[in-house]
Amino acid sequence: MNLIVAIIKPFKLEEVKEALAGIGVQGMTVTEVKGFGRQKGHTEVYRGSEYTVDFLPKVKVEIVVADEMVAKVTAAVVQSAKTGKIGDGKVFVLPLDEAVRIRTGEQGAIAL
């Protein structure tokens, strides 16, 4: 099993979710995060004070999938999250040792 971590633009979440559901992914976990990267932030001025905001709002999607799904899921995310503009984000794939469904205690790919 693998943990696929995708950092995407917030407004792309809905599309990514649908793309994933489309290829049979049944679960995912989403976190609001701030991203720092090549994409430039902006400047906010409050009266005299200027603040450069270089952390931009992003959404992190975590999906645990069986090994055979990794490529498919990665591709689906890349495709649905892409705008072609800077700051589109990344997909990271991490190895995973085990997964357990709390409700039933099932383990492995069946728990996903």
Binding site: E44, V45, Y46, R47, G48, S49, Y51
Partner: protein, 498 residues
């Protein structure tokens, strides 16, 4: 006279044939009936006096010998409304305006400061403040120009009857509460300059001393019947300055004290390096709206009547505020590319501040001009000047209130006109020379004197008091406390819990 008439009439009837007498009695009766109040004029007021008193109620003048000691419903109602509005300016108006501008971790500290000051100042006001400001027992004595008197200590004798030195038709207890609301918001304004980094105990200590040494004497000097600088009402004023609703007393005093205090206390940890943007511009805007609305009580209420002067103040307040708000926003749009909410809010507050001393003295045209100035000069201070000198006037109490109050006091000298407020050209103003200055020009000179005296008192006293408090209780919390936020560390609570 009525009595004499009666006697004469009696002797006259004696000499007439009985039938005429009898019949004439009817006439007499009719006459007597309709002139009855006249007959009893020594004991009770005459019909004319009674009607005159009623007219005095409408025109907000001296009731004379009838209806004395009685408040007038229209005036009393408006002043209760105004008092509530001015309280609304602080709780929650200013608390939100300032609270929205600090960082999330310090929002409650601002609210606590406003609440704590409200309680503390009320107690001071009840015990000594009102008496020291609006009493007159020191009259004649030298100190009487700086402090009022002792007759109203603990609000003794402050009843629902009007104190005619200040208002013919408003209950003195309402007047005392109305003025209390001013006494509450003034030190609360100072908090803006030292936000996010002053100990709660230090603030309360400082405010206690500051009220006694700065606010009470200043308020007496400008507004007290025997005050040194009360040009509009004290025939013996040394400085014939005018200040309708508190440009010097409220805004200059708090603003300049704020500057000194923020210089002494130093900048926030991380100032200039870390992001210290307002945590909620929404709260800030809500506070602005409340300040604007409440300020009608502050400005129009300062007529201490629901009369034409109040009406004029209502108009000038609206015009100056709206114009200043729009001006600030448009300046930003031109020089920065976008009009910010903070810009509109800052402009509105600046407009309110600058019109304050002038509001009951200037015309609509004057108000619009003042609005234009108010929307631009403070902008320059809170952006360029502050950036240049690098003091950490966290929420711009200096840039808005000190600068605005000072400008307002001066501009009042230029724009005040007897046409909208006859107090400038009659009564005390005739005796102390104010009327002449208003008509012939030169009032700005007296205004300058008042500005300098106010500035001097605020700066020197704050310098001394801040150091006293620093020695006794200390001004700043430990850096770790400041880092974690005053909410949790000083008040044991969090502003928002998810």
């Amino acid at each position: 006279m009525a009595l004499i008439l009666l006697i004469r009439w009696a002797s006259f009837t004696m000499s007439l044939p009985i039938s005429i007498v009898r019949r004439t009695i009817w006439l007499c009766l009719a006459v007597v009936l309709c002139s009855l109040p006249v007959l009893a004029e020594d004991a009770v007021p005459s019909m004319d006096q009674r009607v005159a008193a009623l007219e005095a109620y409408v025109t907000n003048t001296n009731p004379g010998s009838s209806l004395t000691g009685v408040p007038g419903p229209g005036h009393n109602g408006w002043m209760m409304t105004s008092s509530a509005l001015v309280l609304f300016m602080t709780l929650p108006g200013l608390a939100l305006f300032y609270g929205g501008l600090v960082r999330r971790k310090n929002v409650l500290s601002v609210l606590a400061q406003c609440l704590g000051i409200a309680g503390l100042v009320t107690i001071l006001w009840w015990a000594v403040g009102y008496s020291l400001v609006f009493g007159q027992s020191f009259k004649g004595v030298g100190i009487g120009r700086f402090f009022g008197g002792t007759e109203f200590l603990f609000l003794r004798g402050v009843t629902s009857a009007p104190n005619t030195a200040y208002a013919f038709w408003v209950s003195q207890n309402v007047f005392a509460m109305y003025q209390l609301m001013f006494a509450i918001i003034t030190p609360a304004l100072i908090v803006g300059a030292i936000a996010e980094r002053m100990k709660f105990s230090a603030i309360l200590s400082f405010v206690t001393l500051w009220m006694l040494i700065v606010y009470f004497p200043l308020a007496h000097m400008i507004w007290g019947a025997t005050g040194l600088m009360n040009g509009a009402a004290n025939a013996g004023a040394g400085i014939t300055a005018i200040d309708f609703a508190g440009g010097t007393v409220v805004h200059m005093s708090s603003g300049w004290s704020a500057l000194i205090l923020c210089l002494i206390i130093g900048p926030r940890i991380g100032f200039g390096r870390e992001k210290m943007a307002p945590h909620s511009m929404v709260l800030c805007m809500v506070g602005t709206g409340m300040l604007w609305v409440g300020w009608y009580g502050f400005n129009a209420g300062s007529a201490v009547a629901a009369d034409g002067i109040a009406a004029n103040a209502f108009m000038t307040t609206t015009l100056a505020t709206a114009v200043a708000s729009f001006t600030w926003g448009m300046i930003e749009r031109i020089f920065r590319g976008h009009a910010s909410i903070l810009g509109f809010c800052s402009g509105a507050v600046a407009g309110l501040v600058v019109i304050t001393p002038a509001t009951g003295f200037v015309s609509s045209t004057g108000a619009v001009i003042i609005g234009l100035i108010a929307g631009s000069v403070p902008y320059f201070f809170v952006t360029t000047v502050k950036a240049k000198f690098g003091y950490d006037d966290a929420l711009d109490t200096f840039g808005v209130h000190a600068v605005g109050g000072t400008m307002g006091a001066f501009l009042t000298g230029l724009f005040a006109t007897g046409a909208v407020n006859s107090n400038l050209t009659s009564g005390a103003a005739l005796k102390n020379g104010l009327a002449k200055l208003v008509t012939e020009g030169g009032l700005w000179h007296e205004q300058l004197k008042a500005i300098i005296l106010t500035l001097f008192l605020a700066v020197v006293a704050t310098f001394v008091l801040a150091h006293v408090v620093k020695m006794v209780v200390g001004l700043r919390p430990a850096p770790e406390i400041e880092r974690q936020g005053l909410d949790l560390m000083e008040h044991g609570e969090e502003g928002y819990i998810e």
